[in-house]
Amino acid sequence: MKYLEGRLLAICVKKGQCDAAIGWAKTHGAKGATVMYSRSFSSHGFLRAIGLGDVEMELAVFLQEGTEDFQCSDFQKMGNLTGFALVLDRKENGMKKEFKLITAIVNKGFGDDVAEAARNAGSIGATVLGARGTGTAEDAKFLNVVLVPEKDVVFLVCPESISEKVVTAIRGVKELSAEGSGVVFQSEVSEFVKLGGPKAE
């Protein structure tokens, strides 16, 4: 099987900023992007405590095949974006990876708990996406309709040095201790930049 050579560039910005970022990328050789709505968290502990900590985000994913002439850091130069950008690279280019992407897939509603656990372990932010599982063969049909479980997918980027600690913290979430509660895994991030001011997560 032949794989496409390439890498994945993801950019996560506040809702409404994504179109501008994609438009800019397109003028620099990007063929297109896939955009998803997601949710992030305010850095203010008080706002999160009173239920007003959700921040609406847009997550765009580009598959770069080499015709593009932009990097993560170029989005930083656009100046008016708030969020982060990262590159997942399959190729080993020998560079020491500073950051890890941690992905947790848990049952719907527990995304906030994962994010908070990660925060307590020293990670700075998280992005949650609504998703659904596929269900298993045992999932009986209901009125001839296959029911599938709802999931929260939590993405977070943290320095390589604390990634084990963060994963341990996520695994330690009380509500996720039962078997079948979800999965968590790490991937290598070859580039990572924060966009915008200090409020960006």
């Binding site: 955009v35 998803m36 709505y37 305010s42 706002l47 009173i50 239920g51 007003l52 959700d54 921040v55 609406e56 847009e58 719907k108 509603g109 527990f110 906030d112 708990d113 908070e116 609504g130 659904r132 269900g135 009986a140 209901f142 009125l143 309709v145 296959v146 029911l147 599938v148 479980p149 709802e150 009380k174 509500e175 409020k199």
Partner: protein, 489 residues
């Protein structure tokens, strides 16, 4: 800042109606004592709507979604139907708008027992919610459900409608208030999340199906009632009361509490049984309920304190001072700007954007909704001025609505029929209705038959315009698909 953005968003959604009334005040009809009340009301509206939008995001919509998926997840038809019915029944009989509707009906025909009537409306919403669940899972095409439903409604209306015609069509929109609509809307979206292939309809259509229930039940009820004509009933309508802010606030506080308590009770009951959410989630939801409660209270206080009197006065004075001619285009503008200030409309439009992952832009839905409601209000003012029968509007209107559903993408048909119930919120049932009543009194027509019916029209026209949007989007998509194919060759 996220919070600042929300404040800005609601500020710009109530700005149009405020600016409009201020212009009228300075150029055409000075509101006098009513003007400061209107400004105070607008401020309350602004704060209330903002808090409500927090509450809807944090509590009402997630609650409805979880409720919808929980009911289906258990894979038990009896459980789904019994609890679905129970939820519809409870949240409806607690809805203050239903009590108002019941009073109207008793005014028209004193033979109606108010309590029995409220229970019947609750029953109808419960049954039609069940129909909504069943339809989604059985994948019955939406257009057939609406064709049969509205077909039945029109047969009953033609045979037995009579004096109940206006009020029956009003009841569909009126019974779904600012707190029930987001929850019912989200129920369907919750179901679509866990049903494979559910994304085709996106879970819309629940509010539309539920709205048919009250119309049917009022018409069925009218079969069994002896004829009685209304006479003195309309005399106290639109009476300009200068109640104090405190008394209005207390009144709205109680109304909102009545409506939110059942929702909260269902949440607390379902949390240990079905949701089993984490402590963090429960706390977030409870905060959301608080925002909803305070938001809706302030919003309703603003409307009742500042807007109703202004509406009646404006409608009346426009006619008396001989501005009848320009009132009709002005009515269109009022309808078009009022949409932005309706709490549930914001929830619907946001859901449309979220479910379609930004494919259907908010602004586009707003424009077509605004045109729809604008037309409705213009038609209503024409009715109020000249006393034209409701038939001439709802007959062709619903015919068109059902006809278009055969050409429109399924998801848009769902959104369209939902937007009917959604657009007829507290702003239209109070401010715009007051305007029509004032117009009717000024024109010497009977408010009971010629001003009422407005809510029914507001619930109808958006169905037509939003489906037109759906058809346009479909045509555009096909065109760009063809272009892509061509460019690939």
């Amino acid at each position: 800042m996220e919070l600042l953005r929300k404040f800005k968003e609601t500020f710009f959604s109530i700005l149009p109606i405020v600016v409009f009334v201020v212009i009228i005040n300075f150029l055409l009809i000075p509101l006098g004592d009513l003007f400061p009340r209107f400004l105070t009301g607008s401020l309350l509206l602004f704060v209330g709507l903002t808090l409500f939008s927090f509450g809807a995001d944090v509590a009402l919509v997630p609650f409805g979604e979880r409720l919808g998926s929980a009911l289906v997840k258990k894979r038990s038809i009896p459980l789904m139907l019994v609890i679905g019915f129970f939820i519809g029944f409870i949240i409806t009989i607690a809805e203050p708008d239903v009590t108002v509707l019941a009073d109207q009906v008793v005014d028209i025909n004193p033979a109606v027992n108010k309590t029995v009537f409220i229970l019947l409306i609750g029953l109808s919403i419960g049954l039609f919610l069940d129909l909504g669940f069943f339809r989604t899972l059985k994948r019955w095409p939406m257009k057939w459900v609406y064709l049969i439903g509205y077909g039945l409604i029109f047969i009953l209306a033609a045979l037995f409608g009579g004096e109940f015609l206006s009020v029956s069509f009003d009841s569909g929109g009126a019974t779904t208030g600012p707190m029930t609509v987001p929850v019912i809307l989200a129920l369907g979206i919750g179901v679509s999340h866990i049903v494979s292939g559910g994304e085709k309809e996106g879970g819309f259509g629940f509010v539309g199906v539920a709205s048919m229930g009250p119309i049917l039940i009022v018409l069925v009820l009218s079969i069994f009632l002896p004829d009685a004509s209304s006479s003195a009933a309309s005399s106290d309508l639109g009476a300009i009361g200068m109640t104090s802010l405190t008394s209005v606030l207390l009144f709205c506080l109680k109304e909102t509490a009545d409506a939110i308590v059942p929702l909260l009770a269902i949440f607390l009951l379902f949390q240990p049984l079905f949701f089993k959410g984490s402590a963090r989630w429960v706390i977030k939801m409870l905060f959301g309920f608080v925002y909803t409660f305070v938001g809706v209270t302030l919003f309703l206080t603003g409307v009742k304190y500042g807007y109703i009197n202004a509406g009646t006065y404006l409608g009346h004075q426009m006619i008396v001072q001989g501005y009848g001619g320009i009132l009709i285009p002005l009515a269109f503008v009022i309808g078009a700007v009022i949409v932005f200030a309706e709490p549930s409309v914001q929830v619907l439009v946001k859901q449309v954007e979220t479910v379609s992952a930004g494919h259907i832009k908010k602004s586009l839905v707003y424009v077509f909704l605004a045109v729809g409601v604008g037309l409705s209000v213009a038609f209503s003012i024409i009715r109020a001025m000249y006393g034209i029968s409701m038939w001439y509007f709802i007959g062709p209107g619903y015919f068109l609505a059902v006809l278009l559903s055969f050409f429109c993408p399924q998801m848009f048909t769902g959104i369209a029929f939902d937007s009917g119930g959604v657009a007829s919120g507290p702003m239209s049932t109070s401010f715009v209705l007051a305007l029509a009543i004032g117009t009717s009194m000024g024109s010497g027509t009977d408010p009971m038959s010629d001003a009422f019916g407005l809510v029914g029209l507001i619930a109808m026209m958006p169905i037509v315009t939003v489906q037109i949007l759906g058809i346009i989007v479909q045509i555009k998509e096909r065109k760009s698909m063809k272009q892509q194919e061509r460019s690939q060759k």
